[in-house]
């Protein structure tokens, strides 16, 4: 048989043929198929190799729990996507998919050799083997692991797709559109609640939508027909939003949930283009109804992993929904009634099948129906082995002993081309536990259930452990009425016919005559962990489920153990003879299914990745070839290379020009805080270490701000503009934090102070002109301003007009030169800058960037907070005792300055360093020692700032060194990778110690 599509269904449109490529070969399917159903229709089961042993693996399921059918989509460098589940991927024209984790190809896989040496690769193999020798890691183990651990390939170029985020608020969110979800949605929306229903599939209805068994009926209709009518009805409800192809990825506190909506993944290539691919919904819901259903459990027996072995209910879905049979000669192996539904469906479509049932006997209507159809049933039997390499071709069964612990009698060999297994059902409690809910264990059918339902979250349907239809509908209706505090009567008279027995015979690890050590009973198909591995972990002393999980890697693959976790727990409980309920579960972490990075990031890519702040002079800097440096969010000119200069040459030229004639810096990014109020002076007294009350109007003062722990936090110059009005400047990077800190003290500690703070950083642009010719340039710009040192001395401020625009000029200096900072409203910043450049032309006014600024201030020994300090430096450590007022009663951090630790003499202190070879430039961050022979070497400190000074024609550096204050003149060593550099401790001020140039 080459076409396994044996009948028409309403979900497959046979008029729309779709061609696709799988592993390079072209196949055909129909609109409505998933990749998995289309492959099965073509008779393809083998879709990959297992992770560790490289065993051939086939499609196991039809949904999110799929461990094997994981594929790589597309081959373009920017659009290829790994780890896509073929069971969830809707087929589209032009789809290219390939199997993962097999090289050179799925049919001949070199790694398959691991299968034959598998006794050598037990649990913890990776931990045990790749430990030593250490030198093997880089060259042998890592490349080897990387080569064989082929969980797909990530794209190597940026994702061109568009992703979107959307924030929504609802009264009620319902997760899952099966029977119980639809009932809940109808009840909620009809009672005037704004309701959102999401389902990860293309259409609503869960597994009931294709239920065609005559013995399961609602109001005398097939349950599928009844549900279709319900769906038609809810689609008319105006306050209900239905989102299909939308899966909840995470359930956070306060009913905040993330959902991923697939918008174009199912469309052909040409329709994907320029459309939003996926949308992340950020949902706030007052109440959440979880109706996520349950998934079927596999059974754990020898060689239970061959291609052609699927979950029984998945065989049913492929048949009833997609019209595809998974084989022609099918055996179903079960411990409960649900496999009989599959059996009857298969029989009706003419597919021969027999049933192996672990139970001794059972008498539900379903089984009577199967028996009357002549379906052969082996009660009290167990599958002990399977055969066939690339696909199952036969299996062996044996009778179970009375207690179910061993097998008895003779092996019976049965041929087949497909095996369905059903180990019962596992409620999907992921959402409940992600929301913080706890679980209870129900011993009857060995399931974990939501323990309590809170007032804003509830689980209904089979995710709540209600498996038969009658129970599902009755309980859902009752619980929803209570949960939403409504009285809906719509389902009062619903008549439900359903005759499934709950009876189940649960055996986690099925017995076998062959010793466990010689079997391959897989638990986690994707990570290849077996029952033997779990038992080995227990033998080696692991007890906690979280430890066993990590040691054996059970449940750690991309499917997150949806099929395997329960069996691992069951086998641990059986082996350790403890009650399964007492073991607890591993943590259910988001996302429920993998999310693309694109979805998480949304539109925040490229230039929207981060906020960029530009000064009003920015365009001039760009036009004049500036290289930029990021300082916080600001783009600051770093240096302005001329004629192919490198950075060093540009900085040397700029630094020399600033001291020889004139330089200009864009200082607009410095933080500026406007401080007003009758207590402004008192406020400054409390936040700075020095005294402010006596600062005259029109004068400027430098201040240092500490944290309460006494460590330097920020610095800057503050100007007294009028009696109760100051303008504070902060460091560029510290502006926002300083404002927050000041607001904190004002609002919480000193609410009695009459002070108002306003951030005005963006309101003013600043051009800072320095150098011996700065006065002449200022004179050209402001001819009426008296620039004499008497009228406009250092550390003072004037308000002047430039043409008719107000400017504030501060005569302050960070370079040691005469220096004027001209502040103007930002909209005039660009014009001001151009006027300065024009006026400075005859004086070689040279624009300089942050690097030159740093060099010039280092020549003067001025600190940069955050470069020469690191949150552990007091003013005294910086040799700046002069800035700490002895008279003031209190200021932030004062008390900490005489804690026993802060008064230690051997703290790290700021010093200057001069290299013995004046051409040698130290590396910032380099360690400083005095004795390189002692071991371990005693580290004394490190270099914080280092430059070659063109004005001194030698290398200079600032450093923090233990007891540095007492070490002036002492020789120290900077050990580098290939040499030791000799240095001498010096003053921190290297240039113009007498400050002659400020008033020259």
């Amino acid at each position: 048989m080459s076409n396994y599509r044996i009948h028409k269904t309403e979900y497959i449109d046979e008029t729309k043929r779709v061609s696709f490529k799988y592993d390079g070969k072209t196949y055909f399917g129909y609109e409505g198929d998933t990749l998995a159903s289309a492959l099965l229709a073509n008779g393809i089961h083998l879709v990959g190799r297992s992770f560790k042993y490289h065993r051939p693996r086939g499609i196991v399921s039809c949904g999110a729990e799929e461990p094997n059918a994981i594929c790589q989509i597309g081959s373009k460098k920017d659009l290829t996507e790994p780890n896509v589940r073929a069971t969830e991927l809707e087929l589209y024209e032009g789809l290219e998919a390939s199997s993962q984790n097999c090289w050179p190809n799925v049919k001949f896989d070199i790694g398959g050799i691991n299968n034959f040496i598998s006794p050598l690769i037990p649990a913890g193999f990776y931990y045990k083997t790749f430990m030593w020798p250490k030198s093997f890691w880089k060259k042998v183990y890592e490349p080897l692991i990387r080569l064989s651990a082929g969980l797909g390939k990530s794209p190597t170029e940026p994702d061109p797709d568009i992703y979107d985020h959307k924030h929504v608020h609802y009264d009620v969110l319902i997760i899952g559109g099966g029977v119980s979800g639809i009932i809940a949605a109808k009840m909620s929306a009809k009672n005037n609640l704004k309701t959102l229903l999401v389902d990860d599939k293309k259409i609503l209805g869960g597994s009931t939508i294709y239920q065609n068994n005559e013995s399961i009926k609602i109001d005398d209709k097939l349950s599928s027909q009844w549900l279709k009518n319900e769906i038609q009805e809810i689609k008319k409800l105006s306050n209900l939003t239905i989102k299909t192809r939308t899966s909840i990825a995470a359930y956070h506190g306060y009913n905040f949930l993330l959902a991923k909506e697939n918008l174009t993944d199912h469309l052909p290539e040409e329709k994907k283009k320029n459309n939003i691919r996926q949308r992340l919904w950020k949902i706030r819901a007052k109440k959440v109804v979880i109706a996520t259903g349950s998934i079927e459990r596999p059974l754990v027996f020898n060689n239970n992993d061959r291609p052609g072995i699927l979950l029984s209910n998945s065989i049913k879905k492929y048949l009833d929904y997609y019209g595809v049979t998974c084989g022609e000669n099918i055996i179903l192996f079960t411990n409960n009634d649900s496999a009989y539904e599959t059996s009857i469906s298969l029989h009706k479509k003419g597919i021969k099948n027999i049933i192996i049932d672990l139970r001794k006997s059972t008498s539900s209507e379903l089984i009577k129906q199967a028996e009357s159809l002549g379906i052969k049933i082996y009660f009290n039997h167990v599958v002990t082995n399977t055969f066939g390499y690339r696909k199952i071709n036969s299996l062996e069964i044996m009778e179970l002993s009375e207690d179910g612990n061993t097998t008895v009698g003779n092996k019976i060999k049965l041929s087949c081309d497909c095996l369905g297994m059903s180990g019962g059902w596992t409620p999907m409690v992921h959402m409940h536990t992600q929301s913080g809910g706890k679980l209870d264990f129900r011993d009857d059918d060995q399931v974990f259930l939501p323990k309590e339902n809170s007032e804003d979250q509830i689980s209904v349907g089979s995710c709540n452990g209600d498996f038969d239809l009658e129970n599902i509908i009755d309980k859902t209706v009752n619980k929803i009425n209570k949960f939403l505090d409504i009285d809906n009567q719509d389902y009062q008279d619903t008549n439900i016919l359903c005759s499934k027995e709950k009876d189940k015979r649960n055996i986690w690890l099925l017995p076998n005559k062959i010793p466990l050590g010689k079997t391959k009973c897989f638990i986690d198909f994707q990570n290849d962990s077996t029952a033997k591995d779990i038992k080995l972990a227990l033998k080696e002393g692991f007890r906690s489920i979280e430890h066993v999980k990590r040691y054996t890697t059970t449940g750690m693959a991309t499917d997150q153990g949806k099929l395997s976790n329960m069996h691992a727990l069951g086998i641990i409980a059986d082996t350790a003879s403890v009650k399964m309920g007492t073991l607890g579960t591993t943590t259910f972490r988001p996302p429920f299914t993998p999310l693309t990075f694109g979805t998480l990031v949304g539109r925040n890519v490229g230039k929207f990745f981060e906020v960029v702040r530009k000064t009003s002079m920015h365009e001039w800097h760009v036009e004049n070839n500036a290289e930029f440096e990021n300082v916080g969010q600001w783009k600051r000119p770093w240096y302005y290379p001329k004629n192919a200069e490198n950075m060093h040459d540009a900085v040397q030229r700029e630094s020399k020009a600033a001291r020889d004639s004139a330089g200009i810096l864009d200082a607009s990014t410095l933080g500026k805080i406007d401080i007003q109020g009758s207590d402004a002076s008192e406020f400054l007294n409390r936040v700075y270490t020095n005294a402010w009350s006596k600062l005259a109007i029109g004068k400027c003062r430098y201040g240092i701000m500490l944290n309460e722990d006494g460590m330097v936090y920020d610095d800057g110059v503050t100007t007294r503009i009028s009696e109760n009005h100051y303008l504070m400047t902060t460091t560029t990077g510290g502006a926002a934090n300083v404002l927050s800190k000041l607001e904190d003290y004002l609002q919480t500690e000193w609410p009695e102070l009459d002070v108002y703070l306003t951030s005005v950083t963006d309101h003013y642009s600043t051009a800072s002109i320095c150098g011996p010719n700065s006065k002449k340039i200022l004179n050209k710009l402001f001819p009426t301003l008296d620039l004499s040192d008497e009228n406009f001395p250092h550390m003072s401020f004037k308000e002047v007009k430039l043409e008719n625009i107000n400017c504030r000029i501060m005569r302050i200096s960070f370079t040691g030169e005469q220096s004027y900072e001209i502040n103007i409203e930002s909209k005039y910043g660009h014009a001001l800058w151009k006027m300065c450049i024009e006026a400075g032309k005859e004086f070689n006014l040279t624009p300089y960037g942050t690097e030159t600024m740093h060099l010039l201030r280092a020549e003067k020994g001025f600190i940069i907070v955050g470069q020469d300090t690191d949150g552990t430096m007091t003013p005294s450590d910086l040799q700046m005792d002069w800035i700490v007022s002895k008279k003031k009663f209190d200021f932030i951090g004062k008390r900490s300055l005489y804690r026993s630790d802060t008064v230690r003499e051997d703290r790290k202190q700021l010093v200057g360093l001069l290299t013995d070879d004046p051409k040698e430039i130290l590396e910032e961050g380099a360690q400083i020692v005095s004795d390189i022979k002692s071991k371990p070497i005693d580290m004394l400190g490190h270099v914080t700032s280092s430059y070659f000074s063109p004005n001194l024609n030698k290398s200079i550096a600032l450093a923090v060194v233990r007891s540095g204050k007492t070490m002036k003149g002492q020789k120290l060593i900077i050990p580098m990778e290939n040499k030791n550099i000799n240095v001498t401790v010096s003053d921190t001020i290297f240039f113009d110690k007498e400050n002659k140039r400020l008033n020259a």
Binding site: G253, Y254, Q747, E749, F889, D890
Partner: protein
């Protein structure tokens, strides 16, 4: 992701706020009179309770006001919100 009821603006997403740690840690009026131990107690020691905790929050991307919050840290439920300077609710001690 909490929803926080700013006493000045109303309910807003947690991402608009920043947390300022334990509430009602009062800065000593005369720090100079404290011993190193007493100052360290104010400076470094915080309770970090599992259960009901009084905290400071700042509506930093909103009105920029500081206020107090009573939160059960074991389940993140916010039980009460009140302005700076107001008396803490007594029923949560």
């Amino acid at each position: 992701m909490f929803l926080i009821n700013c006493p000045f603006c109303g309910e807003r997403d947690q991402s608009e706020f920043s947390s300022g740690g334990e509430a009602h840690v009062v800065r000593p009026k005369q720090p100079t009179e404290l011993s190193d131990d007493e100052w360290a107690e104010y400076l470094f020691m915080r309770k970090n309770i599992k259960g009901i905790q009084f905290e400071r929050w700042n509506h930093v991307h909103g009105c920029r006001k500081w206020f107090n919050v009573v939160r059960d840290t074991s389940n993140d439920k916010i039980l009460s919100v009140y302005k700076m300077g107001e008396k803490p609710p007594v029923n949560y001690k």
